[in-house]
């Protein structure tokens, strides 16, 4: 079994089949990018992996364990899955430093929060992460005061702080400039080098920059899978993207 495995997973919302018998296998340490037109079911797949939505049928396995239908905090805490949301989703009224501090792995049970003391090793841990995301200089700034791109990076830093074994990134470059996008790609490649990462994305250049394997979704089903070059040449994928353009023109 692969490290992350979805087996014939389907989700239906009041009759609407958002995801239709999708099977996905991601190996440990792989960086998988999931692309597809809007409404293809990409975020829903992430929702099912992270526990926000339970599949109506099929199973999800992580590291051999069945995590189908588990609650989000169980998947995030016990199974160590980190999730970055589409718009930056942070604690608006905490500082950069505090945002990362909240996210630190290993201090999330009620008891642990009472016993927590910030010692040197914790301070070092936070400092390392802040430096990786280029925000150490702004560590006392309240997060609402940051620029959009910086907020995206902060959220990535929070995900890293969780020390996850699986990371899901939902459109991490949304709203970024070309320069910021490139920096983000490099960040992902360095910070998440040894981790298993699933990225949902739209920006084709970015996909090319980071992808090892690409999965294309369309209308809730897997359309194609392979390296970036393979997928780009795949006639079905071309047709789906071009066909959408045609419909708009007509």
């Amino acid at each position: 079994m692969a490290f992350l495995e979805l087996r014939d997973v389907s989700v239906s919302f009041s009759g609407f089949l958002a995801v239709d018998q999708v099977s996905l296998s991601v190996e440990k340490g792989e960086t998988r990018v999931v692309i597809g037109p809007n409404g293809a079911g990409k975020t829903t797949i992430i929702d099912m992996i992270t526990g926000k939505t339970a599949p109506t049928s099929g199973k999800v396995f992580l590291g051999g364990a069945d995590i189908t239908g588990c609650s989000p905090h169980e998947i995030a805490g016990k199974y160590k899955v980190g999730r970055k949301f589409q718009g930056p989703n942070l604690f608006d009224f905490l500082s950069v430093y505090e945002n990362v501090e909240v996210a630190l792995a290993g201090h999330s049970s009620v008891l642990k929060t009472f016993l927590y003391r910030k010692n040197k090793s914790i301070a070092d841990e936070i400092k390392t992460i802040l430096e990786q995301i280029n925000l150490y200089g702004k560590r006392d700034v309240i997060s609402t005061s940051l620029s959009h791109g910086e907020r995206q990076w902060l959220e990535m830093g929070m995900v890293i702080a969780q020390k996850p074994q699986l990371i899901t990134l939902d459109e991490p470059t949304a709203g970024m400039t070309a320069d910021e996008t490139y920096k983000t790609g490099e960040m992902i490649k360095t910070m998440m080098k040894d981790k298993t990462v699933i990225v949902v994305e739209h920006d084709i250049d970015f996909v090319e920059q980071i992808a090892e394997t690409v999965t294309v979704l369309h209308q809730g089903k897997v359309l194609a899978e392979g390296t970036f070059a393979e997928v780009k040449r795949n006639p079905k994928v071309v047709q789906v993207y071009l066909k959408d353009d045609d419909e708009e023109v007509a």
């Binding site: 905090h73 995030a76 805490g77 160590k80 009620v110 927590y116 700034v141 940051l146 620029s147 959009h148």
Partner: protein, 367 residues
Amino acid sequence: MMKEMKNIGWDKYIDVLLFAFLIGFPLVGSLFRVEMMSKCIVYIIFALSLDILWGSAGLMNLGQAMFFGLGGYVLALSYAARDGVPAFMAGFGVTEVPWFMQILQNTPLAVLLGMVVPGVVAGLLGYFIFTSKVKGVFFNIITLSLASLIEMFFNNQQKYTGGANGISGLPPITIGSEPLSITAHYYLMLAVGVLVYLFCRWLTHSRFGMILRSVRDNESRLQFLGFNPAAFKLTIFVISGMIAGLSGMLYIPIHSFISPGNIGVAFSTSVLVWLAVGGRGNLTGAMVGAFLITWMESLLSEQFENVWLLLLGAAMLAVVMFFPKGLVGTLLDWQYNRKIDRQMGLVQTDDSVELRESDFATAKGKV
């Protein structure tokens, strides 16, 4: 030094001032006023119990008085049963002390139970509410309903609770057989008050407190970081209930009397008003609100009871509409916004900050 002092929230200054005033008060106040101030301190503790729940975790308990009253009644029943069957029960033909009061005849145990009973009620109630996927406003409705029902229940069960007349003739605190003097009693209340304040301060400044506020601000984000929000809400609810129960017990020696009015909706409304007017989430607002309003009430309400209530309602309305964070909250807000402005380089401070191009790219954060 000045820069650091500027960064300390003004709430700490107000706290220090308040406690200094309270410590020195017996030196200037008459014994009558000192006794009134003792009652005020009990209310301050009660207000703190709601603040850690509402101000930190965002859980607006519309029936906080039920925990106050439960604690008070536990102690009252304990005192009443000390010498056998109490008078109000004997009047109904009860000849033996009922089972649930036999445990209470042991006073230290009763004091413990006065905190444990509200804690258990909070625990059970919280378990059902917080683990459910129901809307947030449900918490408000259920706490209001439960307080109302408990009040009606205590009113109704005259045989066991003294009914609408409550339980009276309760003794003051004694050392040996000597009751404490008014001043000594005052300082005892103040000591407990300071301890509760310090505990709440530690709680809200700990990581636990930070997570509570994050539950209030962005619960879903917290879930995906591995935290179980229901566990945190449940914990603070129980702690809040226990402190409220404690304040209910402290109420007994001063008033010698407890009635269903202390356990129901009206009293719950009072503490909500104190926090709405004073501000919540910073402990100071709760203390200031409780202090100011209970003092004004004791000064005005004897002569002008109806007008007083009307004024209170109007004042609360005005505060909610124009100063939604309460008096202290608005003050702290002002200080906080200045801090944000400084961070973005928009305010000239003594150590001039240069304006940076990138700072203007962001919308100014408004709390």
